[in-house]
């Protein structure tokens, strides 16, 4: 048996993945264990966990594959500094110490770190390197159900590439076209994330969520001045307006001058219609680029299937648009499309592409993305006792009926079941659930539970078999990566007066029979729930449907703003006690807030830095 460990680290979202003979055994992000959002450090805990899933020691691993190539990245850095010299001296003087001391010697650095797991690990030659975008492409193609496909990867930057087109056939994957740094769709989106006052590499979702409140007034300006977009979807950025190549910020003064306002300071400047229009404009530009790219590659390569990965593939609104255009028969998106998924891609790339092993099973290999740790009943009970929690152990049937009833009564539930999800989305294993029919639920969840901005939308989880009755989409979306409109007959049309309401005021208008998951443009980011991959979640929603006739639940990640999704029993209990969650369900254990020792209630949100 060949055991391969994939690692991504040192930029953001460090992670580890274990595959044995090509089968995905386990994968997890370091942030879940370290409790530091987007943790970029060496994923010690994640590696420890994936090894424990099969009781392995590090020395039992045959190959260890790092998700990118440090030398190639260093080459890009040097050439960029040369190209922009003398500009960029400050960035150079800041980056060189860390590169010359640490990053350039990544193989040795990794070796030393890996030895901490097992002193018997002595073979440095087991460490291999994959390319950043190749890792992304592999993470999208190999676990997909397709024998052959076009693979499009889009992100900020890896070594040189920012956008790649690859062809996947059987067990082979080949990159056929690339767009190089500094021309990057991911960095373009991040530049606007920075400009609208959100954190780069984490606030991109907020820009996407903010977009439907605005109008794409600046789209033409962006396409005219910032991006030279060609008919085939290839593009160049006008670096006159950006600072990221050699500077310490994403945009420069010229950029602010072009839009007529300085960068928003999140500490003192409120979000207004200008920021909403900016968000709408950049979202529209991204969609335009992605649609041109996909239309062109569909025509050029004549493949029926498309696989997507890279951070930009988490832009589910753009994904929904690709789907709607029907350029491809089928689309599959890696649920851990960001850098965390690079760990899995690196391992899979080595197994199939380097070791030339055949792909035997052609079905979705991600197992619903439930690839993280789970806990057995005895352990949970012991842990709950040590936390001084008051709990009731229920029979398996009871827990679903009881939870569904409480949800239908408007209670908000922390739902902790089975293996933790790999990737940024909570998919019913570490989720906060609520009734989507409630008009005030979106606001309540944002402000009382998640402690985050009130404009941010929530996603629905819907039984797969009921999907078409509720949404205008007819394909699986198990990873919550596709956006679609709510079915017309479920929508409630807005009066002209309501339609013209400004931005966030629109939120208070009931827009459908499931208002808590209906965004202001009548769309929703859908998760289809399948009996095969998550029977417990499927069962819960089915019970909820029996009571309410509604096969949909609000599903948001089990965490507060700035906190990684909960991983352990302790994390879940702490989050439960620090927020206004009414109920916590951990496997068969039911915990009601009113039963808990009130002295254990804690000030939770201040523990995490807002993202």
């Amino acid at each position: 048996m060949t055991k391969i460990l994939g690692i991504s680290a040192f930029y953001h979202d460090s992670a580890a993945a274990l595959i044995i003979d090509g089968k995905i055994i386990a994968a997890a992000q370091e942030e879940r264990f370290s409790r530091k959002k987007h943790d970029p450090n060496y994923p010690f805990n994640a590696i420890k966990y994936v090894l424990s899933e099969k009781n392995l020691r590090l020395n039992n691993i045959d190959h260890i594959v790092f998700f990118e190539k440090p030398f190639l990245k260093f080459e890009r850095l040097l050439e960029t500094y040369v190209a922009f010299a003398p500009r960029g001296f400050k960035s150079f003087s800041l980056s060189m110490p860390i590169w010359l001391r640490e990053k350039l010697f990544q193989k040795d650095f990794l070796f030393q770190k890996l030895k901490q797991h097992d002193k018997n690990f002595t073979n440095i030659e087991k460490i291999k390197f994959s390319e950043h975008h190749f890792s992304h492409a592999a993470s999208a193609f190999y676990p997909s159900p397709f024998k052959d496909a076009i693979v499009l990867t889009l992100d900020g930057v890896g070594e040189w590439a920012t956008t790649t087109i690859a062809i996947g056939e059987e067990n082979k994957l080949k990159i056929v076209k690339e767009i190089y740094f500094p021309h990057s769709i991911g960095l373009l989106y991040s530049a606007f994330t920075y400009y609208t006052g959100f954190k780069v590499n984490s606030g991109e979702y907020k820009v996407m969520g903010l977009a439907p409140y605005g109008k794409p007034k600046y789209k033409d300006l962006i396409l005219d001045k910032l991006v030279d977009l060609k008919q085939d979807g290839s593009f160049k950025l006008n670096m006159k307006y950006f600072d990221f190549a050699t500077g310490l910020t994403m945009t420069n003064k010229e950029f602010s001058k072009l839009f007529g306002r300085p960068v928003r300071n999140p500490r003192k400047d409120l979000i207004d219609s200008f920021h909403m229009d900016i968000a709408a404009s950049i979202q529209s530009v991204i969609e335009e680029i992605v649609l041109r790219l996909t239309e062109n590659i569909a025509k050029e390569y004549k493949k029926k299937n498309l696989c997507l990965a890279g951070g930009v593939a988490l832009n589910c609104v753009a994904n929904g648009k690709i789907l709607k255009k029907n350029f491809f028969e089928k689309i599959w998106i890696q649920p851990a499309a960001g850098d965390a998924g690079g760990s899995l891609g690196a391992a899979l790339a080595y197994w199939y592409n380097e070791l030339n092993n055949p792909r035997k099973i052609l079905k979705d290999q991600m197992a619903g993305s439930y690839l993280g740790p789970k806990f057995d009943v005895d352990f949970i009970e012991e842990k709950l006792k040590s936390l001084k929690a008051n709990y009731k152990k229920k029979l398996n049937n009871e827990i679903f009926q009881l939870t569904a009833r409480k949800l239908s009564e408007g209670k908000i539930v922390g739902w902790f079941q089975g293996r933790m999800e790999f990737g940024p989305r909570a998919l019913g294993a570490r989720s906060i659930l609520a009734d989507p029919r409630s008009e005030k639920m979106q606001k309540d969840l944002n402000i009382k539970i998640k402690f985050r901005e009130s404009f941010r939308p929530f996603a629905p989880s819907v039984l797969r078999e009921d999907l078409e009755e509720w949404f205008q989409i007819n394909c699986d979306s198990p990873y919550m990566l596709l956006v679609s409109e709510i079915k017309k007959d479920k929508q409630i049309s807005m009066s002209e007066k309501n339609y013209n309401l400004f931005g966030i005021d629109k939120l208070n208008i009931k827009r459908s029979s499931i208002p808590a998951v209906t965004h202001v443009d009548y769309t929703a980011r859908i998760q289809t729930v399948h009996k095969e991959t998550n029977p417990k979640f499927h069962r819960l929603i089915s019970e909820f449907k029996k009571i309410t006739n509604c096969p949909v639940l609000v599903n948001t990640s089990f965490n507060v703003r700035g906190e990684p999704i909960v991983c352990s029993i302790e994390d879940a209990y702490n989050c439960f006690m620090g927020t206004n969650l009414d109920i916590l369900v951990i496997e068969d254990f039911l915990l009601l807030k009113e039963d808990q020792n009130q002295n254990l209630l804690n000030d939770y949100k201040s523990k995490f830095e807002p993202d």
């Binding site: 030398f71 190639l72 500094y81 800041l94 980056s95 110490p97 860390i98 500094p182 960095l187």
Partner: protein, 50 residues
């Protein structure tokens, strides 16, 4: 260090980027100066250098 230099030279050879060598030498010397003049390798997060 020797194996590192060997690997790095193989990389340059593979990429056929010999023209980078003098630049690398100058930049690395320059970089070493910066390293020596600093006490810590902790650099602030810059979006594209990591």
């Amino acid at each position: 260090m020797i194996s590192f230099l060997k690997e790095f030279f193989e990389f340059i050879k593979y990429r056929k980027k010999y023209w980078l060598i003098p630049i690398i030498v100058v930049l690395v010397l320059f970089g070493i100066l910066i390293v020596l003049s600093q006490g810590s390798a902790v650099a602030p997060f810059i979006y594209t250098i990591f």
